[in-house]
């Protein structure tokens, strides 16, 4: 019997210090099929693909191509086996043309002189065959993100790859580009290419994939035929329990307005468009407002604009009746804002400072910690740090004098959360506050957040995954739906109801 699988990854286990990224995962990719790999953030999808592409070595398990076991030690091995990958972040040279980028690394030459003519013919032929409509002489920096992605696809086709991996290809595309990409993928499959499609967008998987394998927390959950599975079944497989997508409205008793954002627009650092466009919303006392969306839809810039890390292009922010649009970061922090940052290493901690210094990072200038001559009161700093360590169970090698860099990620996060909640803020902006924490700590922090809310504080929560949303009863959540890849569009009519429209935007309407 002829082998029907193009690639098989059998019982793959990949461990990182402190975490098992892939635990006995098996996926089998049939020839000419589009096989989706579904899972939440951090489920181990990217690790698995990195193993297949030779970026990581698995501790256990084998990879078979056409039924024969193969060793993939680096991306060159993967290329030699006909495995190509479109990365989430494109690997293109901006100031080169499309053609230059495609032939890069495999330049056709005679005695060292480039033979671009043949290459161009081949590229144009491929482009026509799969309906890619690409201009080989355009410069990468001048073409749209969708076109850049097609360049990446052409790169794989030019190298005659048979197995194509798409790592969350739709995250950066506009809806129309997504439609076109779906069509291109179908064309490729029809021509006999096998496609692995990584995504957490259920409607896309439903639309394009033949089969779907689901990962959850590094474990393999199962493989289903997409045409037999409903969106609800898939999302239950992904999240781990039955997800009630229709939650009743909860009564909430919002108090005064704590934060008022009017028409906030924030520029993006990644591209020329604005990342946040004209967003207006209000946060009341005793309210937890969640902003959910897929990475790269403007949440990061939203927080930067709100906390003052990036200046606003336009708009107005009012905190507790005070206009803080132009206020410095220090002023914002002093007027009752607290911020658990998304990136704890970049913003949250000074890694080379000991833990006690990190605990007073925003309060070191208070009389409690600095005397009137400008000398630090180290005793008080240590005492305060020890109080936080005790209260929040922050574990470290040498207590308060441990250098933050040597602590585990979870404990670093706990220290930040402790510091921010202990400031007793009027408004806490928490971006993925439970990232990297164990279950006990997560529960403790959630309790703290609810307790703070009951005490009349306002919260902004940016959850790591959708499961977190259901952890908070009686929150009013505001959902941002990504209309296009760069827009944050508020849906005010959904306020104070717990409706989550992402993973299945269209179907749920």
């Amino acid at each position: 019997m002829e082998n029907q699988y193009a690639i098989e990854m059998l019982h793959i286990t990949k461990k990182f210090p402190g975490i098992i990224a892939n635990d006995d995962v098996t996926i089998q990719l049939k020839k000419g099929e589009i096989h989706a790999l579904l899972g939440e953030n951090g489920a181990g999808k990217s690790t698995l693909m990195s193993v297949l592409f030779g970026l990581y070595q698995a501790e256990e398990g084998i990879i078979k191509k056409d039924g024969k076991e193969v060793q993939i030690k680096n991306p060159n091995d993967a290329n030699a086996l006909g495995i190509g990958m479109v990365h989430q972040h494109f690997k293109l040279v901006e100031c080169f043309t499309v053609l230059d980028n495609i032939i890069m690394g495999v330049e056709p030459n005679k005695f060292g002189f480039l033979q671009k003519k043949e290459a161009r013919e081949k590229v144009v032929a491929l482009s026509e065959k799969y309906g890619l409509h690409i201009d080989p002489d355009a410069y990468i920096e001048d073409i749209t993100v969708g076109m850049q992605q097609r360049t990446e696809i052409l790169k794989m086709l030019y190298r005659e790859n048979e197995i194509l991996i798409f790592d969350e290809p739709t995250a950066v595309l506009t809806p129309q580009e997504i439609e076109e990409l779906m069509q291109i993928m179908k064309n490729l499959a029809a021509e006999g290419k096998s496609i692995l499609f990584i995504s957490h967008k259920l409607n896309e998987i439903k639309a394009v994939a033949d089969r779907c394998s689901v990962l959850r927390k590094g474990k393999y959950v199962g493989t289903v035929d997409t045409k037999d599975a409903t969106i609800e079944e898939l999302s239950a497989m992904m999240v781990g329990h039955n997800v009630n997508l229709h939650v009743q409205k909860e009564e909430s008793t919002p108090g005064d307005v704590v934060l008022d954002i009017e028409n906030m627009t924030v520029a993006s650092k990644m591209h020329k468009n604005n990342a946040v466009k004209n967003v207006s919303l209000k946060v009341h006392r005793g309210e937890v407002v969640c902003i959910a969306g897929i990475d790269g839809n403007g949440q990061t810039e939203f927080v930067y604009g709100l906390t003052g890390l990036e200046p606003l292009v336009s708009g107005k922010i009012t905190l507790c009746g005070e206009d803080i649009t132009k206020a410095s970061i220090r002023q914002r922090l002093l007027s009752g804002m607290s911020h658990i940052p998304e990136d704890r290493h970049k913003h949250g901690l000074v890694l080379d400072y000991p833990l006690d210094y990190n605990c007073v990072l925003q309060r070191y200038f208070e009389p409690e910690f600095t005397n009137k001559f400008g000398f630090l009161r180290k005793d008080n700093i240590r005492k305060y740090a020890e109080k936080l360590i005790e209260q929040y169970d922050v574990r470290s090698g040498q207590g308060s004098v441990t250098i933050a860099r040597s602590m585990s990620g979870g404990n670093q996060q706990k220290a930040i959360v402790a510091r921010e909640i202990d400031k007793n803020p009027e408004l806490l902006i928490a971006v993925q506050p439970t990232r990297g924490l164990d279950v006990g700590a997560i529960e403790y922090i959630h309790k703290q957040i609810v307790a703070q809310r009951d005490a009349g504080k306002a919260y902004f929560l940016f959850p790591l995954n959708l499961k977190k949303l259901w952890t908070f009863p009686t929150v009013s959540s505001l959902c941002m739906k990504a209309k296009s890849s760069v827009n944050l569009t508020p849906k005010p009519q959904l306020k104070t109801s717990l409706v989550f429209i992402w993973p299945a935007q269209r179907e749920m309407r």
């Binding site: 906390t307 410095s328 220090r330 002023q331 970049k346 000074v350 400072y353 990072l361 400008g374 000398f375």
Partner: protein, 381 residues
């Protein structure tokens, strides 16, 4: 126990510094061997002996004094580099700020006839302002401090040549002697000259520079100001996140750094130990040697006192090398080699930690294998 000592930060710094010195001397010896094998051993000993070259105590002390006079400005330059480095900046412009310090102190002394106190203060202020240029460019225009620093070094050099030309001797490119033309600008000795056999160049500059080293240590380790500056240096983003004025911190740091370097210049030139040559075509090496001294001192303000002395000791010692066997530049060459290798402190520290970790890993593996073997045996029984 042994491991604890080996992993101790202070021990590592000291060990690495000493190893660098030994390496430097060894390489210097090899170079001498290549040039002229017969005198190599003697020559390297002369470099290390420095003032011990003389047999009379009196002469020894006088020469030691000479080394100490030049140690004071080197301490200041290395403190300047160190201070900026703790805030994450590489102030290679210290050499230019030092030059500005020379210019200001000599001009105030010779042309304006000021006393030593105002001379020193004005020199410090000028150096600070010159450092502020680098800081402003860095924080508001995002110009790398190394690039602007190097360019400003040249501007400082030629400006100094130009400004000091009116106060130079007619027959030579050198500025007037302070002793004859501006005696009140000379730093007081406070009786220190008595300790060094009447070497009048040994002034309060040395104790002052040690005092400033202690001050720098206190500011960096004990104060709110130092806390902010170091946080900015370790992680600029975190400093911004918690509301520190990271731009202001960068400017203030470079001002302090420039001020220290310029004050160091006045410590040397207000002793009348050296005159400025108005045809100089390079900034004094003092500012650059400060980099080596700062690293050799393990980036500790107190450490720099000793490392600065050592570097100056080597540099002066070079003068005693037998000129009949080696050309006169050999002294500079040997001290340059040693100073160069002094920069390897961090590499050595890294290598040390790597070796320790590897060793530990090996032992852990061994222990694990042993434990496994034991349990298996246990199972068999």
């Amino acid at each position: 126990m042994m491991k604890k000592i080996l992993k101790n930060e202070a021990f590592q710094s000291l060990f690495a510094s000493l190893l660098c010195i030994i390496l430097g001397v060894a390489v210097g010896y090899v170079v001498l061997l290549f040039i002229n094998p017969t005198g190599a051993g003697e020559a390297i000993m002369e470099v290390l002996k420095n003032f011990m070259h003389y047999s009379k105590t009196n002469l020894q002390l006088k020469n030691l004094g000479g080394t100490l006079v030049k140690t004071a400005p080197l301490i200041m330059c290395s403190l300047s580099i160190l201070f900026a480095y703790k805030v994450g900046l590489f102030n290679i412009g210290a050499a230019g700020q030092y030059c500005v310090g020379i210019c200001a102190s000599l001009y105030c002394a010779l042309s304006l006839g000021m006393g030593w106190v105002p001379c020193m203060i004005i020199a410090t202020v000028c150096g600070a302002l010159y450092g502020a240029i680098v800081g402003l460019l860095k924080s508001y225009c995002n110009v790398n401090e190394v690039i602007s620093g190097i360019m400003l070094n040249w501007i400082a050099l030629y400006s100094t040549n130009m400004i000091l030309t009116p106060v130079k001797e007619i027959t030579s490119p050198y500025t007037f002697h302070l002793a004859s033309d501006a005696p009140k600008a000379i730093l007081p000795t406070m009786g220190l000259d008595k300790l060094f056999a009447g070497n009048e160049k040994v002034t309060i500059a040395l104790p002052l520079s040690i005092l400033i080293a202690v001050l720098v240590l206190i500011v960096l380790e004990k104060t709110k100001f130092g806390y902010e500056l170091k946080a900015t240096g370790f992680n600029k983003n975190a400093a911004k996140y918690c509301g520190m004025a990271e731009k202001r911190n960068i400017i203030v740091t470079l001002m302090i750094s420039g001020g220290i370097a310029a004050l160091g210049a006045s410590f040397l030139y207000l002793t009348d130990f050296e005159q400025w040559s108005c045809t100089s075509s390079a900034v004094p090496a003092m500012g650059f040697n400060g980099i080596a001294a700062a690293f050799l001192g393990g980036l500790n303000p107190i450490g720099t006192i000793f490392s600065s002395y050592f570097i100056q000791h080597i540099t002066n010692g070079g003068a005693f090398v037998d000129k009949t066997m080696y050309c006169s530049q050999i002294s500079d060459l040997i001290s340059a080699i040693i100073i160069y290798l002094c920069g390897f402190v961090f590499f050595i520290k890294y290598a040390m930690n790597y070796l320790i970790d590897k060793n530990e890993e090996k032992q852990a593996l061994k222990a694990k294998a042993l434990a496994e073997a034991n349990t298996q045996e246990g199972g068999d029984k």
